[in-house]
């Protein structure tokens, strides 16, 4: 085994890029769940975002248009979920699962003509002298804008949820929708908004996979990333900072185990492939086991709301 082939700077760089799809999807789902809605369709929204973004980027030649289309695609699928669960009061778990299956099928259909094509490459963000720093320059300051957007989104989600009136209303709706309604908050409108945001974020996460990470279109290319995002939200106790940590931890161990595989480590490949899942769940479970009251699941999570009277 030759560990010297693993470059720490490249490892960190790969970690940040690898974690970005998860980070977007998990942040979106975090907001959805804080509003009291359980959308299990993250996987479906991600992959629809992946193909919409891919198609738009190939069609226009602009990665930015691709990401916009990815967000729209994810949000469009989320709108279906919103209409069904908030308007028609369908069961959220079943609807979310159906959404995933539908998204996988629809994306395969849309993506038939795009197999084997290379998308326009997403440029790195020019950070001037920062990118020239030794180690840090290559590890942290040599990414495309989406990676930094993910970090900014984490901060923004945290700030909006914890520091603004709107975030307070959203959390209130997720805690006790009956009380929120009695106080005059628009429960359904807030939830629909959160669902659409979650869809757009999942779509961007998917778009990052097809436009930057891979970068090409393959059927089923999200390969369970949406489910990992869902798990990260739960194990992160519905907190934005921990979602970032969970996503980076998962991304980091994934990258590390790939490098170890390449270096020919004397550990069975199956165990290495398992390691990101195990490590993420273990760390976040230990953290959430110590949580205090008030950071647990939103009390109205997954419950349908029908306005009385």
């Amino acid at each position: 085994m030759d560990l010297s082939a693993i470059s720490p700077a490249l490892l960190v760089a790969a970690l940040m890029a690898g974690a970005t799809p998860l980070l977007f999807a998990a942040l979106g789902e975090l907001v959805v769940e804080r509003a009291g809605v359980l959308n299990l369709g993250v996987e479906g929204m991600m992959i629809l975002g992946a193909i919409c973004g891919f198609a738009a980027a190939v069609g226009t030649g602009s990665p930015a248009a691709g990401f916009a289309a990815a967000a729209l695609g994810g949000a469009a699928l989320a709108l279906v979920f919103a209409v069904l669960t908030q308007g028609l009061l369908s069961n959220q778990v079943a609807t979310g699962l159906a959404l995933t299956l539908f998204g996988l099928g629809l994306s395969a259909l849309v993506g038939q003509g795009y197999v084997g094509i290379k998308p326009p490459s997403t440029p790195r963000l020019d950070l001037g002298p920062l990118s020239d720093l030794p180690f840090l320059g290559r590890a942290i300051f040599s990414h495309d804008a989406i990676v930094y957007l993910g970090l900014a989104a984490t901060l923004a989600v945290w700030a909006v949820l914890n520091r603004t009136r709107f975030g307070l209303s959203l959390r209130a709706v997720g805690e006790n929708h009956d009380a929120a309604h009695a106080l005059g908050l628009k429960v359904v409108a807030i939830r629909v908004g959160a669902i659409l945001f979650g869809g757009a974020m999942a779509g961007i996460g998917g778009g990052y996979l097809s436009l930057v990470r891979v970068p090409q279109w393959t059927e089923g290319m999200t390969a369970g990333a949406g489910w990992i995002a869902l798990a990260i939200v739960v194990f992160a106790s519905w907190r934005a900072g921990r979602v970032l940590m969970g996503a980076y931890l998962f991304g980091g161990v994934s990258v590390l185990q790939l490098n170890l595989q390449a270096a020919g480590a004397a550990v069975p490949v199956e165990i290495l492939s398992m390691s990101p899942y195990l490590a993420t769940i273990l760390v976040l479970a230990v953290m959430s086991a110590r949580r205090k009251r008030g950071t647990a699941a939103p009390a109205s999570l997954g419950r349908s709301f029908r306005a009385p009277g």
């Binding site: 307070l168 805690e175 006790n176 009956d178 009380a179 106080l183 005059g184 009251r293 008030g294 950071t295």
Partner: protein
Amino acid sequence: MTERREDDRVAAPLLQIEGVTKAYPGVVANDGVDLSVRPGEIHALLGENGAGKSTLVKMIFGLVAPDSGTMRIDGARHAPASPQAARAAGIGMVFQHFSLFEALDVAENVALGMSDPPPRRALARRIAEVSRAYGLPLDPGRIVGDLSAGERQRIEIVRALLGRPRLLIMDEPTSVLTPREVEILFATLRQLRAEGVAILYISHKLEEIRALCDRATILRGGRVVATSTPALDSAARLAELMVGHRLEAPARAGTAQEAVALELDRLSLPPAHAFGTALHDISLTLHRGEVLGIGGVAGNGQDELLAALSGERLAPRGSVTLDGADVSRRGPAARRRLGLSVAPEERLGHAAAPDMSLTENALVTAAAGQRLTRWGFVDWRATRAFAARVIERFDVRTRGPGTAAGALSGGNLQKYVIGREIAQAPRVLAVNQPTWGVDAAAAARIRQSLLDLAAEGAGVIVISQDLDELMELSDRFAALNGGRLSPFRPAPGLSMEEIGLMLGGADEREAARAS
């Protein structure tokens, strides 16, 4: 005194409601209701559950739109489209079922109820100001889930007061408060009245209304049946107006026998969860035909004691003896088979499954005792018949045994869950808060059925925070304080001062916690 003050203000009602009607499919909740509330008066809205009180105030607060009729505030048309609009018109509301968010802190909860909350630090300062001015101590940083019922209500009141309301609506505010907390609340309300705030006070507790309110409007079946000056009318007269017929006080017959039905011997249990209360050395002897009353402020071990009785929590060997047999290590089903039944406080989710029908809910506790299953298969016909018997015997108002438990009003469901246990003729029945949030007629019915059960020779344990209820029912009375039970004393002849002393420890602790 009251009369003269009224005369001074007859000219200018703050809230004037004329001919308001609101119908839901199958029921007319309000039928041509007239109501006027003047500045600086506490106006009682009195009526049974389902009389239309809640619908009426929801219309005033903009949660429901009336079908017809007019509402005016200071002579101007009042048709709020939302609670925000109602708050802007100077109306504040304190809800019966707290509209609070347990996982959020006090300041966040207050901010949610305001149309335009100031930044957090300024808000915390204003909360402190208001709570000082009205004697309602509150810490803005506390998480609501950790607070007592009285403290939670303070949040609601402070939230409403921060909007500087001219009309404050209080929906059954005292149903979860201890006597001491009720006194504090009344002092606050009188202070607000003196400042010229109009208060619409919804309740069915007649003595409270007589002590507090200047005028009363009485609703029955969605119509106004009378207006009255409560201080001048007797409680019996008000009850008659409210219910529509004369209410009989439960007939008590001392039926206690020598034979012991249930014995607790130095029962101690650690708390079940971080916010629970430990039980310490609880001993009691319940005779057949006897009613034991256990009073005390909520959170002093009532739930834990009931769980130890029902078998939801197993007790140390030898500590619970039923008819001479040690049942300490037996679970709920085994105890029920032996004749020990329990009706817990929480009707929905503990005593009954809200989304299941009354028939299904009957099956849950009566399957073994009433032989409702054969070879593991449910005998639905017998189950339905049993549920229908309970419904008929205990006057549960519902369409039939197929109705979901959650669709019943609190009083009717309580009649059903207690009736379900009584219909199985238990040897011992323990109930917690049997008439919590239940209207007067249903409460009288429930109390009478408990006394009837005792008269038939069963032992009954009533755990309650309603002292009047305990005095009415009990042969002997004890208080639960921090998980310890005071010695039992004969209830007849026990004065309120003596009871206060028995409860004393709990009240002092409550006060210490509050300040």
